[in-house]
Amino acid sequence: MREITYVEAIREALFQKMSEDKTVFIIGEDVGIYGGAFGATAGLIQQFGEERVIDTPISEAGIAGACIGAALTGFRPVGEIQFMDFVTLSMEQLVLQAAKIRFMFGGKAKVPFVLRMPGGSGTGAAAQHSESLENWFVHVPGLKVVMPSTPYDAKGLLIASIEDDNPVIFVEHKLLYKVKGPVPEEMYRVPLSKSNVVRQGKDLTIVATSIMVQRALQAAEQLAKEGIDVEIIDPRTLRPLDDEPILESVVKTGKVLIVHEAVKMGGFGGEIAARIAESTAFDYLEAPIRRLGGLDIPIPYNRKLEYHAVPQVENIVEEARNLVALRV
């Protein structure tokens, strides 16, 4: 199959949906001639014109509001927040308006839009351009939260998100943008709320999100050489969560490591751990549930410090090795 990058896959999804559906439009900062800060919308303004690829002033609340208002009146906007950090400025519109409108109105309205935003560290952009804030949204009923980890998923999940009738927070990762992978040229959908068993194994379950899926795969290769057989599950949609494959996997392996880049304290891993602990899978655990997440600090600027602020392949290898060695 043809291989393209994660950011090309996103661009292709946008292009194909916009070609097919006149109600889809793009709105955000520098999404037009500039092509988006990371190039996700490059070339789209030439294809669809400035009426459907709308450059905005630096107004994140306004971008979110524009998505909501247009969605309420028949469109399927795709907004872009240049860095996930800046979504802090859109929070009122997303949390208090988008997420609640349908419920508050007794189910009589829908708000179908996607808000794309790149999260994550590793680019030396320091504390205000490197955050992983997905779990803030995971806490909000009415929103959907999607985090693709491969080019294939990026395209299929974005198309499914645009077609979904709910507000979708679509979290991309800056370091994944240049990662290549097989992506079909035609349109396809990766269904929301369907966890993916990325790698099958019998000794240990690793639940990972976004870039940590890639790192877990690299770790699994190293661990395989040591005779440790790792199963990796990527939830892909964090809310609403499909936890069945995770629980089934834990029943099979008896050991689980949860890995995400976001700060561990209050992170998504806590939810996964709790769901395992609350389920019958708990009876099958042969060791404590372990989590790897970002350190309890803002992302530092210095390259070495930044590297050590979030889980890396070697951390996953070490944690997995310890977990497999444990006998309770």
Binding site: F25, I27, E51, I54, T56, P57, S59, A61, G62, A64, G65, A66, C67, I68, G69, A70, A71, L72, T73, G74, F75, P77, E92, Q93, L96, Q97, I101, R102, F103, M104, F105, G106, G107, K108, A109, K110, P112, P141, G142, K144, D165, N166, P240
Partner: protein, 336 residues
Amino acid sequence: MQLTSTAIETEIYQPDHQRLLEELGEVRLREWVMKMALIRSFEEKAEDLFARGLVHGTMHLSIGQEAVAIGASSAMQPGDYLLNHHRGHGHCLAWGSDVNLMMAEFLGKETGYCRGRGGSMHIANVEMNNLGANGIVAGGIPISVGVGLSIKMRGTRQVCLTIFGDGAANTGAFHESLNMASIWNLPVIYLCENNQYAMSMPIQKAIKIQHIGQRACAYGIAGVTVDGNDALAVYDAVRTAAERARNGEGPTLVEAITYRWKGHSKSDRQAYRTREEVKEWQARDPIRRLAQLIKMDEAEYEEIFKKAQATIEEAVAFANASPEPDVSTIMEGVYA
């Protein structure tokens, strides 16, 4: 070099009442008085129900502000959109909503506009393009940008009326939205219902300029300040703004200066203002003022209120007879 403030001083717009009276006619203006009486009766009943412990939640009464609701709504056309604020019973009724379904929503019943999930602060009537009252100050203003864009992209001649208070005019959301609406020339009317207090903060202390309407100049759009207790003045300004929007001339900021007779919400002891000030404004009752303008006699005026109160009693009876939402439906409506 000399630096001075560039704020443009503005007068409060004085409409030509005689022309408006002739244009609108006595029959239609009598209906306005009836609708205003209905709004006031709805809110007096809401207060009464609350005082008797029959309402679970809170409420924000717009008694004294009825001219803004009726003047603005009457200037709009079927198919236009409405976004309004938490003190929104009046706008919703003036927009043509069913008083029974509103009362049922206020009392949290399944038959209410939002199936009892929204309550007083979130009444919406999507079928009539009333996109809802908003519990967040300025919460609806950014949404108006999207509604305006949507109208522009569909190429219809609709207009979005966005009503917010004086408090909202000092939020960042106001600035972002008016700027975006102005650069894209969106068909949105920004109607600031200035009732002079953001909860307890008087507007004189909250802005340094004279009128919020002056802020239009910062966005390069049309702006006007009117007497918000004069239904004809509000109508004149909003209708002109709607015509401009329909003709592709973009957004307008209309400020209507009015006054809230009651406290901010149920818990307000009103320590921030004097009884004399409230009385002064009660003497400028917008309903009585319109009735006098069309030379309605006292007997008819009282009759209109009696009828309105009877309608409200029927609405309360409808709401009381309506079922509560069933707990088995609690999860409904979160996702489409």
